[in-house]
């Protein structure tokens, strides 16, 4: 590693077995109050045929300090936002405020059962309502449901709304011919998967050499009256604003379709421009991206769906509404697509997102967007001399590069990513979007300072040099981690998906 870049060094790191390998019969890590009612013989309540006979064999038996050490040690093997920049493109890994965590743990929310009477949960419903209002303002789309649990869930919800709307508009028969969903080749994989879940067949739209939706292709695909809609990410997954968005929406609308926007990249737009003003009909947001709720190592998320007034009747039930000063649940939505999740969605994430919005204020939201875009532009500027930048247009909140120059000497995107680890950074998103060969999608977000951006650029440049001067160094990276690259192919060939005791299996 070149000596000026000293973001990291190596230090001692604790090993830790699987908990099952640590378990010792008889150890206990909990204590419950004694049973304070008269005991009924168990057989009178539950005949033994209903009871398990395996005495839960295999479940761990450990002490409280064992548990603490187990998880504390494992935790130290993770990279995290709190350790540094996490420039995963499309993921918007921004700082997760501690205040939001505190808000979500307030007893009056954390201890509230979802089925209490509405009058006993007015404060909780108000949170939902307020957040709905704010998201409507931010997107320019007034119908909001917070029920979806993540982005993909929001997509499914949105696409089902499109379908339900067309069914209602055209009648079952006519609608049955409109079963095509258009999706750009650059789209995230969840888009086609969600469309499929809603019974659509997917047609792929080409991107132009500039990295934007190919309008001609779009027109062509729209020509046959089969198109129910278009799913568009904007800025798209190349980090480029679809500057023809208005025209795109017109084309789709004129063809009788609706426009779904994947809002995963809203961190480029909040406070600057609103999808509703562009002609978008329905959008999902990722509160766990744009609105800073923590990713938690893969969730939970929250994927609100926002629609035009026209589509509002199709949103999932129950809706949270307000009459005068009273908040209530409205189940009476005959056109609704139905429920997409039990209860009201990932409520804890709504609290955090509302706290984020309140902390930032209208100006702070806009400033965060500006900083996010500035940071991406700064990286784009800093790396363009060393890495191939496949699209000329200035990026919004994220920028894509490729390994074209480095791969000539054998160092591919994966290698560059792994080498970045040695420099103390979490790698960018790699090999996505699929249409860019060897893609490296870099999203710094607003939560990173000038110094660390410079370190990142310096590290990337240093890797570019290494790829020429000492490619082995890059090809065998990372060198500084507790384990090296794992053999993923072997793992998938003979998957071992759970621990098992050395000899026998575990009976049920």
């Amino acid at each position: 590693m070149s000596s000026e870049i000293t973001k990291v060094t190596q230090h001692i790191s604790h090993n830790e077995a699987l908990i099952f390998e640590r378990s010792q019969p008889g150890r206990i890590g909990y204590r419950l109050p004694p049973l304070d009612v008269e005991e009924t013989p168990l057989a009178e309540i539950l005949p033994s045929a209903f009871r398990r006979s395996d005495d839960l064999e295999g479940l761990p038996e450990v002490s409280e300090v064992d548990v603490i050490r187990h998880f504390t040690r494992m935790s130290t093997w993770n990279y995290s936002i709190d350790l540094g920049m996490y420039p995963l493109g499309s993921c918007t890994m921004k700082y997760n405020s501690r205040l939001n965590e505190k808000v979500a743990r307030i007893a009056g929310f954390a201890g509230l059962h979802p089925l209490v009477e509405e009058k006993d949960a007015q404060g909780a419903l108000e949170v939902i309502y307020e957040l709905q209002e704010h998201l409507a303002e931010i997107t320019g789309l007034p119908g909001v449901s917070l029920q979806p649990a993540a982005g993909a869930h929001g997509e499914m919800t949105g696409v089902m709304i499109i379908r339900a709307f067309i069914d209602a508009r055209d009648g079952e028969g006519a609608s049955a011919k409109r079963r095509t969903m258009l999706i750009p080749d650059s789209a995230h994989g969840t888009n086609p998967a969600s469309a499929h879940l809603s019974g659509f067949s997917v047609k792929t739209i080409r991107s132009t050499a500039e990295g934007l939706t190919d309008l001609d292709h779009l027109r062509e695909l729209c020509a046959h009256g089969e198109v129910a809609g278009l799913m568009l990410t904007n800025p798209n997954t190349l980090g480029l604003f679809e500057k023809n968005i208005k025209e795109i929406c017109n084309i789709v609308h004129e063809a009788g379709g609706l426009v779904y926007m994947d809002g995963a990249n809203m961190n480029a737009l909040v406070g600057i421009a609103r999808p509703g003003d562009m002609g978008v009909d329905v959008i999902h947001l990722n509160l766990h991206k744009t609105f800073s709720t923590p990713h938690g190592g893969g969730g939970p998320g929250c994927g609100p769906c926002c629609t035009t007034k026209e589509l509002e009747p199709f949103l999932p039930v129950p809706r949270v509404i307000r009459k005068g000063e009273v908040y209530s649940l409205d189940f009476d939505q005959p056109q609704s697509i139905g429920r997409v999740k039990a209860f009201f969605g990932n409520y804890g994430m709504m609290l955090r997102a509302l706290s984020y919005i309140q902390t930032h204020g209208f100006d702070g939201l806009r400033e965060a967007t500006e900083a996010a875009v500035l940071n991406a532009r700064y990286i784009a500027h800093g790396l363009v001399s060393d890495y191939d930048k496949p699209f000329d247009a200035p990026p919004m909140h994220e920028v894509v590069f490729t390994d074209k120059r480095q791969s000539r000497k054998g160092a591919h995107t994966l290698d560059i990513a792994k080498r970045l680890i040695d420099y103390g950074f979490h790698p960018m998103t790699i090999y996505f979007p699929l249409i860019v060969q060897g893609a490296m999608l870099i999203e710094p977000t607003e939560s990173v300072g000038h110094q660390e951006l410079d370190q990142f650029i310096a590290a990337m440049r240093s890797i570019a040099r290494e790829a020429v001067e000492n490619p082995e160094l890059v090809l065998n990276a990372p060198h500084s981690t507790r384990i090296g690259r794992l053999d993923e192919a072997a793992a998938a060939r003979k998957p071992v998906l759970r621990w098992k005791p050395k000899e026998a299996g575990v009976a049920g």
């Binding site: 304070d36 935790s75 997760n96 929310f109 993540a150 997509e155 499929h196 999740k341 507790r482 794992l486």
Partner: protein, 437 residues
């Protein structure tokens, strides 16, 4: 920095957005609040949720259980909660090993062979199980038992509405509270799966084994749903009952009620269906030096690669909640889970007996139960429970009329280790008084 990259003003950053699409004003969201103001505002809202402060006998898919203090400490370690999905195994082994342990625990509890890294919650897990059954059997009819949680059934309906799946619902026996013989009428060789919940929505333990046999007899799968996962500490394991796909709501494992979410979908099945499972899987892997590690695996099932052909569209799941459940299960351990289950069953039995002794009150269903049971009151349940809340400051349960308008006097009571005897006695007394009995 602006100048370093050759721009003059912040506005230049957004040149690629056509001017007419830009917002020419500030957002009408509120002005920034300081921490103090913000917390005060949320505290005020929280105070307007009086139900959060009362003794409660609500269950019905969301349960109040003891959660060891260590759980929140561990999930508050930022190494866990501020990490992304573990795409880079060399610097994500913490998350990966946790998920591997989680998958193992779910297998141990259910007796199944494979479990995934989590689903959004029990209801969506059930919907995905139904879709998976259809994929496996290539049959399009699904029979759900009538005592599956009504909100779960709603979600299943939403998910299957465009999948060409025909969803039939088998009636519940009004005497036992279990699935009635009605199911035999519905079952045929076009059936992809029987979907049963046990303990069911009315708290009755179903004869899952018999249903599994029926399903298997026609080549269908048995999909078992569990909303109260603590029951796994005491009830027969799903695998031993013949279940093919098991889904459960894992909220009972150390996850706060939090007005309905985030919760945790558990999903387990037989090894032979592993490649049909939705969602993420973590598997063991080794590096060149033979060191063990863990990776996301079998990704070819997933939407990143298969796109519309994926087993599901799920991407972000419930990682941190799976961590919470893992910490919970490892802290409570083999003995703790059994003790919690025992306390639940005992306290519920005590409460059921006391309530049933009240004049005019009865327990309409005869099946064995775990920690929930239906009470039939001499008066409409909604009014009764409202009176109980205002007079005694107790949330006495769930009026079933919310979902079953033809059961106006019935309500569902849930008792866990969190309900002290005093609370139960107060409930019983309150019911007696409020019903005028």
């Amino acid at each position: 920095m602006l100048h370093q990259i050759g721009l003059d003003s912040t506005a230049d950053l957004f040149d690629s957005i056509p001017a007419d699409l830009k917002l020419s004003r500030e957002l009408k969201t509120p002005a920034a609040l300081s921490e103090l103001e913000l917390l005060a505002g949320f505290e005020q809202k929280a105070a307007r949720n009086p139900a959060a402060r009362r003794p409660s006998f609500l269950g019905a898919g969301a349960y109040s259980h003891y959660c060891p203090t260590v759980v929140d400490h561990i999930i508050s370690r930022s190494e866990f909660f501020t990490a992304y999905t573990p795409y880079q195994p060399e610097i994500s082994q913490g998350t990966l090993q946790v998920i591997f342990e989680f998958q193992t625990l779910v297998c141990q509890l259910t007796g199944m062979e494979v479990a995934n890294a989590s689903m959004y919650d029990g209801s969506t897990a059930l919907a995905e199980a139904v879709l998976m059954a259809e994929r496996i059997t290539r049959r399009s009819k699904v029979i759900a038992c009538g005592a599956v949680h009504p909100e779960y059934l709603d979600v299943v309906r939403t998910y299957v509405q465009h999948a060409g799946i025909d969803l039939a619902v088998a009636a519940t026996d009004p005497v036992t509270g279990q699935t009635s013989a009605d199911i035999d009428r519905l079952l045929d060789d076009k059936t992809a799966a029987i979907v049963v919940q046990s303990p069911n929505f009315f708290g009755c333990v179903e004869d899952v084994e018999a249903l599994a046999e029926k399903a298997h007899a026609v080549g269908a799968l048995l999909v078992l749903a569990i909303t109260e996962s603590i029951s796994l500490g005491l009830l027969r394991s799903p695998a031993s009952l013949g279940a093919d796909i098991v889904v459960a709501e894992g909220q009972s494992f150390g996850v706060p009620l939090s007005f309905g979410g985030p919760y945790l979908g558990l999903f387990a099945t037989r090894e032979k269906y592993a490649r049909q499972i939705p969602g993420r899987l973590v598997g063991e892997a080794y590096d060149k030096q033979g060191r063990r590690g863990f990776v996301l695996t079998l990704a070819t099932r997933e939407q990143h690669i298969r796109r519309e052909k994926a087993t599901s569209n799920i991407c972000t799941n419930e990682g941190l909640i799976a961590l919470a459940a893992t910490v919970y299960l490892e802290t409570m351990g083999r003995r703790g889970l059994q003790e919690v289950a025992q306390q639940c069953v005992q306290k519920a039995a005590y409460a059921a007996r006391k309530i049933s002794e009240l004049p005019g009150f009865s327990l309409p269903y005869s099946a064995p139960r775990f920690n929930e049971f239906v009470v039939r009151a001499p008066v409409p349940a909604v009014g009764l429970l409202s009176a109980l809340a205002s007079d005694k400051e107790i949330t006495g349960g769930l009026a079933l009329s919310r979902y079953f308008p033809n059961q106006p006097n019935d309500f569902l009571v849930c008792v866990t280790e969190m309900n002290s005897r005093n609370e139960i006695d107060a409930l019983v007394e309150g019911l007696g008084q409020s019903s005028g009995a």
